[in-house]
């Protein structure tokens, strides 16, 4: 039995997840490990560990979006999809000088974004 109500809300964060049963890594978190079927407890994290998902990565594709959703008071934003050195992939915001190129080496970090209503959230910035 799990009781989600007895713990406070989790702080926004971006993590990779590792199954301690078999070592398989994920982003974002699954509920069940695809390799060994280990269940993840979202409250205690039992059976799993988290790790920072930052650092060197390679750009797989990118776009410059001009019709941003409600709350984004900017002309455009660039987004990219990257692959980290450990093989995990992620999508997030992209900031580079000049025109990005597929295959270029980037660095991933997390920043706080507050365009949408509610608490600020952590987002990836690839630069």
């Amino acid at each position: 039995m799990i009781d989600f109500s007895v713990y406070g809300g989790q702080t926004p964060h971006i993590s990779g997840y590792r199954c301690l049963g078999c070592g398989e890594i994920y982003y974002p978190a699954p509920m069940v490990c695809r390799r060994c079927d280990q269940k993840r407890d979202p409250v205690t994290g039992k059976g799993w560990e988290t790790f920072d998902l930052e650092g060197p990565c390679t750009l797989l594709s990118w776009t410059r979006v001009w019709n941003l959703p409600e709350g984004f008071n900017r002309k455009y934003l660039m987004f990219g999809m990257v692959e980290f050195e450990n093989g995990l992939r992620a999508a997030g915001r992209l900031e580079v000088e000049g025109e990005p190129e597929i295959g270029m080496k980037l660095n991933a970090r997390t920043i706080e974004a507050d365009e949408r209503p509610g608490k600020p959230v952590k987002v990836f910035l690839f630069s």
């Binding site: 776009t63 979006v65 001009w66 941003l68 959703p69 409600e70 709350g71 990219g80």
Partner: protein, 398 residues
């Protein structure tokens, strides 16, 4: 398994209906379907109502619309449920209707669908549709469906040599078809000069999510439609004046929620698997298909889906468009209705609208200049999320 046929269709003109009540808009199409089938009294023969809608709670601040529809149509105490499966809600509802008949629980099913998206601004609509993305890993980043489609298109261009002009050619074809479709949202043909070759093309056809431009993207559309499914072997089938257009095959499949978690982001496994399952059930293959409605919320999807369902080799579909093979009078007409690109994409209703188009073509009831010659099998692919929940449906002329 029971033979299931579609004996009635209804469809409003897609466009702007947001001054009207959502349930009225859906009920109108449902009433049209009964009229088409032989008369409004036939609604009393229905054993199950399924309503397809994606986001009435967010677009219209309404919930429980299946219950509301039954009451509006004077169909109580008929069982009724809402089917929400993102943009694949429509075909999913037809699939569930088929299953209800195949299971023996129903002989007649009404599938009614509708979405009113223009009740909110374009920015809000983009945000609402984006809520189908992964909340933490995609939506939270600010990513939207056009953003994913832009990245997807760029990758395809780099790998296969697709050009922006090729994307425009798909739009020109779709708009030409929609211009002849009385139900289409945008009944205006466009020329390749206006949106790609002319000196003002960059202004007319501005970027939305590079390299996708406005004419690579569907409009935000309101609309409704409905179909009536009948067990063709049941005595009730005799009550309907039209011979059913048979549902020969239905297949569906899912894929990873996060696009980045796919081994090859350009491979749409759920599309391929859903089509394979539908072909297997129908006992046919891609070469047997006479025409198809493919979920081109972004024109790149028309190309990719046409490859995944086996019409063209990978990376070759845009060459078929260049050669006019997918035109109305081509070897394999695709998106004869104008597709989502020009007919419009009221998200939860789109899958049913695609199936209405298959029925119209197979019956030979499409408008002059839009009728496919002697169609035997039609394929519809309804695509939820960014290809993570897909339903393929094959209708047959018996």
């Amino acid at each position: 398994m029971a033979r299931v046929g579609i004996v009635g269709i209804g469809h409003c003109r897609f466009g702007n209906s947001s001054d009207y009540d959502l349930v009225d808009v859906i009920a109108y199409a449902a009433a049209d379907a009964f009229t088409d089938a032989g008369g409004l009294r036939l609604r009393k023969e229905v054993d199950q109502v399924l309503v397809a809608n994606m986001a009435a709670g967010m677009f219209n601040h309404q919930s429980a619309i299946a219950s509301s529809l039954v009451s509006r149509m004077d169909m109580e105490p008929c069982p009724a449920e809402l089917v929400e499966n993102g943009p694949a809600s429509g075909a999913s509802a037809v699939k569930l209707g088929y299953m209800a008949i195949a299971s023996g629980m129903a002989d007649v099913v009404l599938v009614a669908a509708g979405e009113l998206m223009r009740t909110v601004t374009g920015w809000e609509a983009t945000d609402i549709v984006a809520t189908m993305a992964h909340p933490e890993a995609e939506y939270q980043m600010g990513l939207t469906l056009p953003g994913f489609a832009g990245m997807f298109t760029r990758l395809y261009m780099k790998k296969y040599g697709l050009t922006e002009r090729d994307l425009a050619l798909v739009a020109v074809k779709d708009h030409a078809n929609a211009a002849k479709n009385i139900y289409a949202h945008v009944q205006i043909p466009v020329t390749i000069e206006a949106i790609a070759d002319g000196e003002n093309a960059d202004v007319v056809n501005n970027y939305v999510a590079e390299p996708l431009r406005m004419y690579s993207t569907c409009p935000i559309t309101d609309g409704s439609c409905a179909v009536i499914l009948v067990n063709m072997d049941s005595p009730k089938a005799q009550l309907f004046k039209k011979r059913g257009v048979r549902i020969a095959g239905i297949g569906s499949a899912t894929d990873t929620h996060c696009v980045h978690n796919r081994k090859d982001p350009l491979v749409l496994d759920a599309v391929r698997l859903s089509a394979e399952r539908a072909y297997r059930m129908a006992g046919i293959g891609p070469k047997d298909i006479s025409f198809a409605e493919l979920h081109d919320a972004f024109v790149i999807f028309e190309l990719l889906i046409s490859e995944e369902v086996g019409f063209f080799d990978r990376g070759r579909s845009f060459l078929a468009v260049r050669n006019h093979e997918t035109d109305l009078d081509g070897r394999l007409p695709i998106n004869t209705s104008g597709g989502l690109k020009a007919k419009g994409h009221p998200v939860g209703a789109t899958g049913v609208s695609q199936i209405v188009e298959l029925v119209r073509q197979i019956r030979g009831e499409a408008e002059e200049g839009r009728q496919v010659k002697d169609p035997k099998y039609g394929l519809a692919v309804n695509f939820g999320g960014f290809g993570n929940n897909v339903v393929s449906t094959i209708l047959a002329r018996d």
